[in-house]
Symmetry: D3
Subunit: 262 residues, 6 copies
């Protein structure tokens, strides 16, 4: 089984670290290919960053389809472009926030999310609601450390995360923690060692979710909202993003159905 793990930001150091963590949990026969887009933001810390990371992410999914991947992980806690990626992919596509929240919801009555920047807290709440997980989400907390500092040598990020997790357990009524940033993946084990509760990292959780779905021969529904985008020619600088039909041809589609009136 081949899973494409897509870090939607362009920071290869993070991509490599995530790939390494993913491989430690992957099953024997699973190949993990971790990639980043060549275009877009080096870190995702706003809705704007998310919007500009998405085209590159989707290009990686489209390429993945040609390369024959069995499933995809979107490795940024905002799960950017998730539904668009599902339109492109035949196999399952799982976001790391989605996987982490699902996992935490079966391990504890409630969890808190600990993320990087305060300004992304509302995004996490929005995701919790979108996935039906707001009933399990006790709080979203931020340590206010920038994403790219998380793994700097000598960074105090680990201690900041552990301290915020402790506050979550003490004050929020949470019994599990969801790490709210793909950049925290490599800190997960250390954080869990320091606490006595489940600490869920979305990158590894999503890898196992995709593995499970592929093993179950379950794929994305290709009727309804997640059907392949209608083929059409895009304009200007984005022409190369034009969606193609099954035959690989880009054309403006014919009328959806013959009109009932004449």
């Amino acid at each position: 089984m081949r899973i494409k793990l897509i870090n939607p930001n362009t920071t290869q150091r993070m991509t490599a670290a995530m790939g390494q963590c993913a491989r430690t949990v992957a099953a024997a026969g699973t190949e993990i290919v971790a990639v980043s887009p060549t275009m877009g933001p080096p870190s995702i810390e706003s809705y704007y960053d998310e919007a500009l990371a998405t085209p590159g992410l989707l290009a990686e999914v489209e390429a993945g389809e040609r390369e024959g991947f069995d499933g995809y992980v979107i490795a940024c806690f905002g799960d950017p472009g998730l539904y668009a990626a599902r339109e492109l992919a035949r196999g399952p596509v799982v976001g790391i926030a989605e996987a982490a929240m699902h996992a935490a919801s079966v391990l504890a009555p409630g969890f808190s999310v600990v993320t990087t920047l305060s300004r992304t807290k509302a995004m996490a709440w929005h995701l919790a609601e979108r996935y039906g997980m707001s009933r399990f989400c006790r709080n979203v907390r931020a340590i206010d450390v920038a994403v790219l500092e998380l793994d700097e040598p000598g960074s105090a990020a680990r201690r900041a995360i552990v301290d915020e997790c402790r506050r979550a357990l003490d004050e929020d009524g949470a019994d599990a923690i969801v790490l709210g940033c793909a950049g925290m993946t490599s800190l997960c084990a250390q954080v869990e060692d320091a606490l006595s509760v489940p600490v869920v990292d979305g990158v590894t959780a999503a890898v196992k979710w995709v593995e499970a779905l592929v093993a179950l021969r379950l794929a994305t529904a290709k009727r309804g909202d997640f059907a392949r985008p209608l083929a059409k020619r895009y304009d200007g600088e984005f022409a190369h993003f034009s969606p193609t039909n099954a035959a690989g041809v880009t054309e403006t589609p014919p009328p959806v159905r013959p009109l009932r009136y004449g």
Copy 2:
């Protein structure tokens, strides 16, 4: 990894069939032990059946803890005794309705549940709500075939299920199907062959969910609501169900904390 799959009803034929299906999806190193309680209902078709299936189910979890299992699947679509089982278990415990709904929610914008008896439809809705999945659940439908008839030779159950699924796709706006009874597990592949959408069986989904969580070294939170039950002596016929403490001793617990007043 050793997973105990517990069919909470006493019908060994169903237990064996589920075990077989589970093994077809389990990873190489996973041992599936499929068991049923020795006491209780042969099929679960009411809240009363559920209530009387739960003690036997919990006895199997408690035994499983002594036997060193890594995780548990509760293999009845009502997910009976799920929270009580989590109190007993150190590893993860996943219900088949929970796993199936999670899986369907990442594959399609919405799913319908197709179950056996009309009288269990409200149970399925209640579960969807409990797991935060009601936003994805478009409808719950019943074929009104008794659980134990599902796998009788020459049964028309398969056709009844396929027909109801087709109605779900046509009328409910659903793009995926969740099979709402553990007894449908062995029919899953046949049903999916007949339709062009994801058909999720909870037994196999839950096995993979537990496998994933164990691989991620994630276990049930042992603080808060899912902490081990306080040790105490039960009365009469149920004395042998008395919860013990970590040392295996049953006793009425001492005061929870020194009272603040004197």
Copy 3:
């Protein structure tokens, strides 16, 4: 009118105290029979305790039907086995959490629940949601005193409850209190004397709710989810719990309806 008040734990001292309180509010013509199961936990402080208290509770309802009771009160704040009991009973069955929350919701814009153990707080929230009362429930608070200590001579429980209620009024925006444990019934008047707001005890509230419904000639719906369980033979140790049909006969039911295919 005869009402069976069932304390699902086996502690007769509590059962007797509840019966006494119930009789102080019952109407002239109402006979209250307060009972406990002979089997199961002496106190209910976990989902596991709840699960093992339920069979004994249901046996009391089934016996009650033969004894001709008009209605039932389930006298434990978790309302265990409520829906299963409704399947068995012809008359109304009311849980004490349900009755207390209904009452509080018509007396004040919002209430807080004050219960015994922190680990049962999520249970209370779950009930509030199940009954549609979460919009009125401002908070659930625990005094962390074990159920069986509540009425020990010299116990500080009363002061602990009063203090926690005061905090609820000051901090939660609640204007009424729901006592979250059947063991608090006999303390209710004392607690209310100390505060200037409605303090609702579920045991007495549920008795009056059942009385009201019986006087209105309203009974449990016997079609749909609360229809009598299908008669079938249970196995092993639980054979004596087998549900019978109207004629008192236990047998595995015939097919629900003639299959449409064949």
Copy 4:
């Protein structure tokens, strides 16, 4: 115990009929006084009617306080003026929609409301939501018969109601019926005879609810939102509605609290 049943419309024939029904279910020691305002609409079939019925209703509550009533029933399915009435009353005030929905919610997994006019359906939904009962309310249906025709001799209203109830049971998944108009009270028994499910009339339900609360010595919370209105002088035609303080004096209140700034 003395309960004031207030029909907020001015049609004495309906008031008398409701009083009669109420007395058939009231306990031995309960006196029911059924009244209507002297001013306002003869039937309530719009938000406007509701708004103009409310002052007369409230005058009856205020008079009731002087007359020493123990509790109040607001006998119109829209429960007009419920919160304002609670501000005036010391004892409990229950609306008939509120009581009927509470009752139905403990008797069946779901109910449908059958009311008079289509234009009041959204009102009923709004009430269901306000009381937390929307999770139990499967549908609101109207027979489109004007309120004042309900009890006309030879009226076909009874058959229209029974037919609509049957559709509710067949099509809505409801297992109980709530009659959505106080004018249907005297038809309740006939309707129930024709169906095999609980049919709840709010007038009688509310009488028993108030009786129960008074017997439990529970009254409206007099702190927070339902505190007595601040005394002040109203202007013009409505001067006689001016709220008085405990001493019966009307005056514009002094500052609520000393301002914190100087």
Copy 5:
């Protein structure tokens, strides 16, 4: 375009101040007529006040229809009588809480309401829910200053409001403020100057909302719930409030539709 701004309390000083504020934001061709009822409470600080302010308010709407107004603003933060006013009016009717919450919801991820009296906080929450705005409403806070003191010379109200707003921004996670009382309108600019976030006053917002709807030629739906009230004769003191039909005639309406039985 002519907009009638109705202050439902009788305090002309407030009405004049609101009219003045409204005119500062109104478009060139918009005439603002600010009025108060001649009957009812001088300030609205309880459900009772609200109920008694509503008839006078509705009389102003009914008069407005004869006077040819294009739309209406209900200028009290409880939005009393909103739905009844919509039944009477052909043009749009907007409440100030409704307009302010809509505006705040497009300017910031979340807002807090700062109002006058604590006892009206639940009213504000109820409105937020009714308008679908509770997902944006982070908190409702009160300064506990009486409405009529707000604009007294030398009042410390402005500072109290600013201080409470600061707490809202610091503690609630709100990024915008909704002023929760029509009496705060003239303080709005001063409050916003003191803070660095959007501060929304409902009076001016509602004026612009109505202006926008009228410019769009959008009016209140005259079928369904907001259809004109059925014409009928009211009794006693309230006879002059009787709703008339299109021809201005008051009569009890004929049967809604020919009964289907008979």
Copy 6:
């Protein structure tokens, strides 16, 4: 006042038509500038189209800030990029779905959305929920006509829309219609002529909403989630999308705050 109306697809014919409609409702002093991105999809009919339309849309907002616009309308019913646009803009940014739903919610108890393609129905539901409008949204219906056919000469689109609206009024309990596609703007008047209920077009509604907010001097909150994106250098093909700081400089931001640990 200058408002930039951004059609996120590249079809200039649609942009011009929207601009024309917008000008018919704009106030005297309002200048409407209608633009499309130079890159991206010619029509938006999937999540993928939406994702690829967003960068071009955001470039128009960023340019708009330099050009001194007072506010923005996002003129595609999916409201793509709305939150990212708010991060960039100082003035208000309103989506057409948002504005249309707000407007419809004050005109009728409930509305139905009539859109182009079935596959976008779930998007419309998602928006209704995000804006708190799902309580007003009775249904989302599609005519299954492609966006670009809407205004083709001789197209039967108008009749298809009118027919679907009629079904919405008859079957959904809706009393108002929201047109669910910016391409329907120029048909709005014709559709409303054919029905007797409010028909809301989002393009014109959003223009008036922005006008109103600007006139009220209300702007997007610039603290919290909608603060300007952190300045940073984007990579590769998207380098020209790099967000700049207030001084127009792009650089990776310094640490958000000094870490608390050393």
